[in-house]
Amino acid sequence: MRSSLRLGGGAGFAGDRLDAPVALAEDGALDYLVLECLAERTIALAQLRRRRDPGDGFDLRLTERIESLLPVLARRRFRLVSNLGAANPQGAAGAIAAIAQRMRIPVKVAAVTGDDVLAALDLDAPAMESGLPLSKYGPIVSANAYLGSEAILPALETGADIIITGRVADPSLFVAPLMHEYGWDPGDIARLAAGTAVGHLLECAGQLCGGYFADPGRKDIPGMATLGFPFAEVDPEGNATLGKVAGTGGRITVATATEQLLYEVTDPHGYLTPDVTADFSRVTLTETAIDRVAVRGARGRPRPERLKVSVGYLAGHIGEGEIGYAGANAVARAELAAEILRQRLERRFDELRFDIIGSTSLHGHAFGRGAHPYEVRLRVAARAATREEAAIVGDEVEALYTNGPAGGGGTRKSVTEQIGIVSTLIDRSLVTSRVTLLEGSARAEAL
């Protein structure tokens, strides 16, 4: 058995940087590179694309990501695990096999499916957020269960170089390779909890290395334009040391790791994944060298009985418009513009929002600093059922050029389709995962 494994965090969301994972893969001496590319809404949007084209529905940047990483994978022989399959893991695996063939790099690709539970969804089940039945929400377009490590393990056992999933719990992308390599038992709560802490620390990639952290003069981070992505060196017990490649930008410190350990954790005593209920409340972080932080002390309890399901529904369209004002009395003119639009729009839209950008747009009030900024922008947003109706918001803002307060300029307008997300729970017995293996050619083999 190996005495140490290196897992890299090569993406924190679908739109993440493409060069950082290449640098990490090239010089990180990785055993596994994990790309986390699937936010809650990303999979619902992917499902909509798959409806229009059954061959589509996977990550929009799959080609660029895979083309940039395959030559490194061929040289460095790490394995790649990613949820960039989104709504179509088999389609993604096929696309990757085709790219590999074109680049003449022989790889085996495995796809993990079974997270799509739309057909089995109980519309009377309550949404966790509101307690209302799912049927009370708009037309449902996707329902994906969070699969865990046990769905990924059979794919690792095929020997595939690249493992592509749809919706799985983010930390499970890291826990599964550790279970596979070290033979951890699914009932080994302590080790699964340790692995989950590692996965959670790595899953947002750059956020462990000073991204979403830097604050000049207070929390200085060098080299952010070439921020390095992180790896963890994990021993068979689950003890881990976080690090990044020498020469890349960013820093890993106790402070960056503390922020990431607690990031999005609604209960530090009970962080739920399909694998385990992890307890981060006694975790310790210790700097052992520059850009090296040791992680100890994660504990756990048995995994939750049911799986979480992320349900996507059509939530109409949002129409937006902006216009800028500067100089003396700028805020008052922006407020007059808002009042004009309120009178013209409030009967058409149930939900209407006005923000003064540069003053109160983010937090509603300026925390006691009622200063007079030199320039502000008025932003108006409203929700509408149709794209046409939503477009009225931007058109009305534009009409302020000739009908509104003095000196209004620089209008912008947009309409965005909204996908809402709610969560519910499903019995594990209703979710069956499968693995499909593709080797270089298009030959598929169901397991």
Binding site: Y212, D215, T258, R353, I357, I421
Partner: protein, 100 residues
């Protein structure tokens, strides 16, 4: 009066309509000050109009951190909010404006 910004750093995270604010003291000796002054009530008052639901606080002394879990704080939630910062990513710096 010193601001929280002088004593601690903060990161905001989101789950649905819940904002999670992780507050971390720079120095171990300031952690008890955070525990004493940055209470659930104080945060509720400071974020009035933003944090509209229940607030829970977890103490993590070995990390010098307090974790605030603020329900109904993201104007309906990331995926359907009309707000500009639908994730509430910037709320960390609203908390750090608190005077203590």
């Amino acid at each position: 009066m010193p601001k929280l910004y002088d004593l601690a750093h903060c990161r905001a995270g989101d789950k649905g309509n819940t904002s999670i604010l992780s507050l971390v003291a720079y120095r171990a000796e300031d952690y008890p000050l955070l525990v004493a002054h940055v209470t659930i009530d104080a945060v509720g008052r400071h974020l009035a109009g933003i944090a509209l639901g229940e607030i829970r606080r977890y103490e993590l002394p070995q990390l010098r951190a307090l974790q605030f879990v603020c329900e109904h704080s993201l104007a309906g939630g990331v995926t359907t909010s009309l707000a500009l910062d639908a994730h509430g990513k910037s709320l960390s710096y609203a908390l750090l404006e608190m005077e203590i």
